[in-house]
Symmetry: C2
Subunit: 485 residues, 2 copies
């Protein structure tokens, strides 16, 4: 019991986190009575005084209410901010962590129109098989050793050449390999952000940016995305009002909208960035899907205030993961130290496999075939969605995503919940939207939406939601019970 008294502060925090998580995961809904102090203490193996402290602090935060003589109850509002909770919404289907987890769970009988990658059959498996056979005859260090701090020099040279083809100048020493594009952005946040710094994202944007920035305790502000880039007038206002340290965006093919940055908007974004001393992270992981290269912020800016991110997970393999970051030399220096401190060094094998696969001459053909297949899928899926009244916000020039509005202002989260019961993972709009203004939108990955069953289920779900007796709360409770909360 001494331990409880002396070092109990962290236990109190753990109990608070447990309760917050239950609230966020909706196993405790607003108005629900919390477990008694005694029973929770027994369940979590902590003292009753720890639970009392935790409950009192949660009352202080407004997350729960105390009703003297009766017990503690969940307040009507969302749980307070916390790193590993469901986020600003109570609803796990629009929680970025949860959507990622659902998409990543592997099961053959699940369809995933909501995920962000191609079916494995679309990726260059013969080329990967060839590269694996080549590796099996490679020298010992290739099979056994860590990567060098910046990563495989010949792959960095190849990346520099590929960037040059898109108008971006970077020396190989300005390029650091990472495990993934996500790790690259994470390291940039570690280098450039302090807790409490403000970061700007697009609304809508890739939902994992929300999760990542929450992990960095960043304040997040957003700018609406238009078909030609961020809304410049709003951008100017947000920069003036909030002075964000970073802006994380996609240029070429925007996720989730499929929009393409126009040269005019790109130029204005960079002028504003200069004016407000903004650093821009340009996440360009969908580059190889493009038919015609769109303007890159990094090309205009020359890697002065733009940091450029790429990866091979989308067009080559997510199994042998490899990403990269190109930036100012002094930032690469700091990023390298941070990479070593937090992951020591990458494995050499993934980068060797990527290099072998990119160099064997078949990659360009593969990518061309992929663009063709995607264009066909885009047309097919677009037509079938329109037949259900699900209308694309724009017709993307390239890529895998269709950003669509559901008919009759139907809530996409309701549709996603119903579809999940039938083993289909969808991506409802608000998971991408900081302002939560995309409730009737949904992102479709056209390569994962070709199975006719998807459209049957979508049609059924729309019909169900339209019925006058459709009870949101009932479905939501079932959903919460089925979820991990």
């Amino acid at each position: 019991m001494t331990g409880e008294k002396t070092g109990g502060a962290t236990r109190v925090v753990m109990v608070m986190a447990t309760i917050r998580q239950r609230i966020a995961g909706r196993s405790l809904t607003p108005g629900a009575k919390l477990p008694s102090v005694r029973s929770l203490a027994a369940a979590l193996k902590v003292s009753t005084s720890t639970v009392v402290d935790a409950y009192e602090r949660l009352v202080g935060e407004g997350a729960i209410l105390s009703r003297p003589g009766s017990g503690f109850y969940v307040a009507g509002q969302a749980a307070p901010f916390s790193l590993v909770e469901a986020g600003p919404q109570l609803d796990r289907v629009v929680d970025p962590f949860w959507v990622s987890r659902q998409s990543l769970e592997t099961s053959d009988d699940i369809l995933k129109p909501g995920c962000g990658w191609l079916p494995s059959g679309w990726l260059p498996q013969q080329s990967m098989r060839r590269a694996l056979r080549t590796m099996s005859r490679a020298e010992g260090p290739v099979l056994a050793d860590y990567s060098s701090p910046l990563g495989l020099p010949s792959l960095r040279q190849l990346i520099a050449r590929r960037m040059a083809e898109r108008g971006m100048e970077a020396f190989p020493d300005q390029i650091m390999l990472t495990e993934s594009g996500t790790q690259a952005i994470d390291l940039i946040c570690r280098l450039l952000l302090e807790a409490g710094d403000t970061v700007l994202i697009d609304d809508p944007c890739y939902f994992n940016f929300h999760a990542l920035l929450r992990a960095h305790r960043a304040k997040i502000v957003s700018v609406p995305y238009t078909p030609s880039g961020p809304d410049i007038e709003v951008l100017a206002r947000v920069l003036a009002d909030h002075r964000p340290r970073l802006y994380i965006t996609n240029s070429a093919i925007h996720n989730p909208t499929g929009a393409t940055l126009s040269p005019v908007v790109a130029h204005r974004v960079l002028k504003l960035a200069d004016q407000f001393d903004l650093t821009i992270v340009e996440d360009d992981i969908f580059a190889d899907f493009e038919h015609v290269p769109a303007p890159r912020l990094a090309a205009f800016d020359g890697l002065t205030r733009v940091i450029h991110i790429g990866s091979f997970s989308k067009t080559l393999s997510a199994s042998a993961r490899c990403g990269f970051v190109a930036a100012r030399p002094e930032w690469i220096d700091g990023l390298t130290d941070l990479k070593i401190a937090t992951s020591f060094a990458g494995g050499r094998l993934s980068s060797e496999l990527v290099l072998a696969t990119l160099s064997d001459g078949s990659y360009r053909k593969h990518v061309e075939a992929l663009r063709h297949s995607l264009a066909q899928a885009m047309a097919t899926v677009s037509t079938r969605l329109k037949a259900l009244g699900i209308i694309p916000w724009l017709e993307p020039q390239a890529g895998i995503f269709l950003w669509c509005r559901l008919p009759d202002d139907i809530d996409a989260a309701d549709v996603a919940r119903i579809a999940l019961e039938r083993n289909i993972v969808l991506a409802p709009g608000n998971v991408f939207s900081l302002s939560q203004s995309a409730s009737s939108f949904m992102r479709f990955n056209v390569s994962q939406t070709l199975d006719p069953h998807v459209f049957d289920v979508l049609g059924d779900a729309l019909d169900t939601v339209r019925k006058p007796d459709f009870s949101q709360s009932g479905t939501r409770e079932e959903f919460a019970a089925a979820g991990r909360g």
Copy 2:
């Protein structure tokens, strides 16, 4: 110029970081005059007022001095704490980032007695080659897909069985795969630490723990390590005085000392952990080098307040990196969210390769042969070092490290500097020591110390340092000029 005025705070921070880095890298030594405001502003493309602000703040921090009418000068003391700098020392040879970078740079003509891994020829290359050929015939998803959130189920089952052999009970669902052991510890710090929390480490300990904890802005305290574990009396005092949130340690084979935790000390550590509500991270990446399993904290504790870390980089391959963390289910839940947020998901290939290599029946034989070779190397290297007056602190029961005291209180950093000029990377003691009390110690990796050239260079270096005209500062300056600073 508006930008300078309005958003200049971050630029000021960048200028400060640049200067700190130059001081840390010794391109600016104590007493040296700083660049003029005008020339630095031009070089860094910032306004002069930004440089003036930065210089004034550095004066406020005591890093530099202002001499009115003359300019700014580097103060006599070490640069203030900063994330990506050389650390508390001015000397890059005892900077953990720098030692890691030197070790990881690949060049065939460099010998690395100071690194922490085996030569590639000691690792099971035939088994890796076989596994790569098997993978080349694997199903599409193995070649193309992300890992599931927790990672390959069959590998997690195998890890649970291996842990059981060492007395540790963990369900496969309590095990999450990571890219590396380092990533596992990093995620734990992200989950359990707030900036400014205190973390306890051993003195000496693995030098990258210093770098990692600095990246987390943690306060670091240490406990001296004895041949049977941490010094229990000091541990009790440090826990009472500093209330650390975490204790990061190795149980089985301690890095760098090669010491083994005794059951008595293990029990006392856990009692103190209970009393002070301490969470312990047990980094067990050298487990497979053991001849006889030593006690694990996780075995006694049952994964209540101990988190167990493992990896296959040391005995199998650092090229196909794969680590894991075993912990309480609710922590695994939070760690999984954090892994997704900060690296999305691991690649599937590394874990499939590790599984194939561990399951093909040859791994146990390989590890037995490895232990035998290491025991021989340990004896050979120990004898040769003793002949130079370099005396092991203890004779380790197993593993790759000999922690040795140099003769005549010679400064190991001096020896490391001289050896580096002759292409030999050593690991001087203070890089492992928070208290900087290991200046005449050095860690030798016996597998990387078998080349007779190492002992020639060591002998020469000791002779050089012993000479009455040996000028520390001269060598240091040459060294700094050769370094990356």
